[in-house]
Amino acid sequence: MAEIAEKKEKIPRQSMPEQAAKVRAKNFEEVPTGYSPEVAMIEAKRCLQCKKPACVEGCPVGVDIPGFIGHIRDGKFEQAISLIWKRNGLPAVCGRVCPQELQCEGLCIVGKKGEPVAIGNLERFAADYARKSGECELPVKAEPTGKKVAVVGSGPSGLTVAGDLALKGHEVTIFEAFHKPGGVLVYGIPEFRLPKEIVFAEVEGLETLGVKLECNAVVGRTVSLDELFEQGYDAIFLGVGAGLPTFLNIPGENLIGILSANEYLTRSNLMKAYLFPKYDTPVVRGKNVITLGAGNVAMDSARTALRLGAQSSRIVYRRSRQEVPARGAEVHHAEEEGVEFHFLTSPVEFKGNEKGRVTGMVGLKMELGEPDSSGRRRPIAIKGSEFELECDLAIIAVGAGANPLLTQSTKDLELNKWGYIVADEATGKTSKKGVWAGGDIVTGSATVILAMGAGRQAADSIHDYLTRGW
């Protein structure tokens, strides 16, 4: 075994070609350009085809990783994608945005001695291959059951529920508040990381399965849950995400040029402000941009700012580099593109001019103290360490909360103290009969794959209910 491992390790992890940092920091095209079939097959050879694959345990939806990688190695790409689809309906998305270093790749045996097998890159390759060649067989749909399901929200959780239940023969309609489907995948994550064409292709796939899509439908306003039941829906899934922006509540925060990451990214991605004036929606184009926070959302904002012409784009984070919650690849890409990091700095106040526009941020230096409840060392302010950073655009990316729009209008839905929906961990059932919930609206901001996992569980439970009862 050890011998084989050594032999295999001789093939280095195949890197994915990327646009050069200087070039890509000025355009919105995707950064990594994908494996060629030849390179994918070489990378696939690195997999040891373990009998008890550790990687699969790290995958929240249990994709048969050695199985699909084996097919790629053998050049059977259609079989590879069919196998992935059995567990994961959005592989082109997951291959691009999952935190693989914390999941499958983090547990890969090959990674113990060298670099792990590039599972994410291979997943992406298989999915892109299928989309481009169009050669793959569609999954078979069960006989119609005559049952109707309403899915509220078209993010990854909602799309997963819709796909699973449509395959099981139920009649599914997705209700989405925005004018375009996809949730965070479309309004939040930028084009250079996840081309929208990919998300829309996935949604079209659902429509071919017979899923109906109603955009511009704000459930709780345009139609209530009880009205959906009256209209004949037998079950409802709520996958409305955690779309409430958090602000800092510090002086000067309402100056012009201070935007929540939600607003900044929605303008740029969903409304395509990066193509202004071809598209009508504008967005503040800062020369000196500060982004507060260091998660994926912050990286996306800081990198978008560069592409919109910023001369400097700085991340300001309260904690240290070790605590940065963003995916490793995003931090790496951001640094390559020229995003600067200011760690252990906390915002205190914004300064503005007579036109009400932001001109700077006062920051306070921090040092790390004892670990807090999250196990991370708590940052403590250093007295008298205030300093000013110049900026004409500040983006607040310090987290999101539960949007109360739907939950407030639905009185019999139990919420926790932060306003998230209380749902059974194994099934997604809520306190309201016939209503399930999953994704960020239950867990708080998490990941695409966890939202999909929750969707999968809820779909199983809904199917159970529709065929057997509550």
């Binding site: 508040a177 925005f178 004018h179 306003r221 602000f247 509540n249 939600n262 071809k278 503040v284 109360p404």
Partner: protein, 279 residues
């Protein structure tokens, strides 16, 4: 597509009315609520208050002033054309209850927003005095409708070309002095609302205003519409758009409305040039 079934120009073509097919929204909408409209694939999401609804016919009516690119584009739409997206009803409805004597003050296109509220307040049993104003006679809208919705109507023009010569606040002062007023509703340009509130504060009369900050989603997920109410930040699209006027930071609102002035001008100029070239 949301089809336009009725169209009218007012105030010398500076204001346009559209009646639009949107049955789900028409069934749900209440006075004070708004919709967000987007005309084309590349268009902006524009918030406009519903000036009227017809649940039976399944239509809503919007009345808007042509001020920039998007409203100019809306104006170019004809009957049988349509909007790609209409979202609503959004915002909290006006709390309509019987309090006694109320005054409804409207300026410019604000009168369109004020009209359904005025009608609702009258239906709720209030004695309604209304005051509407415009820069000149030609720009005055909905005079007849406001007359029908109120017990008494005063009309003002800044240049004296019609009705009382002067601002709505002049008449308001007189009305507040002579009557025991319980509630004032003031809707119009931000400076007008600011002055109305200044005056009603002196008389210590509760005042509602409807705020129009720049919005995107209208569902509370971006915070672009934030306004300061009594020193606290609120989202106008979900916490409003109506607020206690005495708590509103109007100066901040006025500044924030200027956030994209340069871009908006560039966008509008380009649109007008394109139109000229076509013609």
């Amino acid at each position: 597509m949301f089809k336009i079934v009725g169209r009218e120009e007012m105030a010398n073509g500076t204001v346009v009315l559209n009646e639009i097919e949107a049955p789900l929204i028409a069934k749900k909408a209440k006075p004070g609520q708004f919709v967000i409209l987007k005309a084309t694939e590349t268009g902006e999401r524009i918030p406009l208050t519903m000036a009227d609804t017809d649940p039976e016919k399944g239509t809503i009516t919007i009345i808007y002033m042509v001020v920039g690119k998007s409203t100019a584009l809306f104006k170019s739409l004809k009957v049988e054309d349509g909007y790609l997206d209409v979202i609503g009803p959004l915002g909290k409805p006006t709390h309509l209850e019987n309090v006694g004597n109320v005054v409804c003050v409207g300026g410019g296109t604000g009168v369109a927003v004020l009209h359904p509220i005025t009608r609702g307040l009258k239906q709720a049993g209030n004695n309604v005095i209304s005051i509407i104003g415009a820069r000149n006679k030609g720009l005055l809208i909905l005079e007849e409708q406001m007359k029908a919705a109120s017990h008494k109507l005063y009309v003002c023009t800044d240049d004296g070309s019609y009705g009382h010569h002067g601002f709505v606040t002049d008449v308001l002062k007189d009305v507040l002095t002579k009557n025991d007023i319980k509630l004032v509703v003031g809707i119009g340009p931000v400076p007008m609302m600011k002055f109305v509130c200044k005056m009603t504060k002196d008389f210590n009369v509760k005042t509602l205003v409807s705020l129009n900050p720049i919005m995107i989603d209208g569902t509370g997920m971006c915070g672009g519409c934030r306004v300061s109410i009594g020193g606290k930040t609120q989202f106008a699209c979900v916490d409003g758009p109506e607020f206690d006027g005495h708590q509103v930071d109007f100066d901040e609102l006025m500044l924030r409305l200027q956030a994209y002035t340069e871009d908006e001008k560039a966008s509008h100029d380009e649109y007008c040039n394109l139109k000229k070239e076509k013609a």
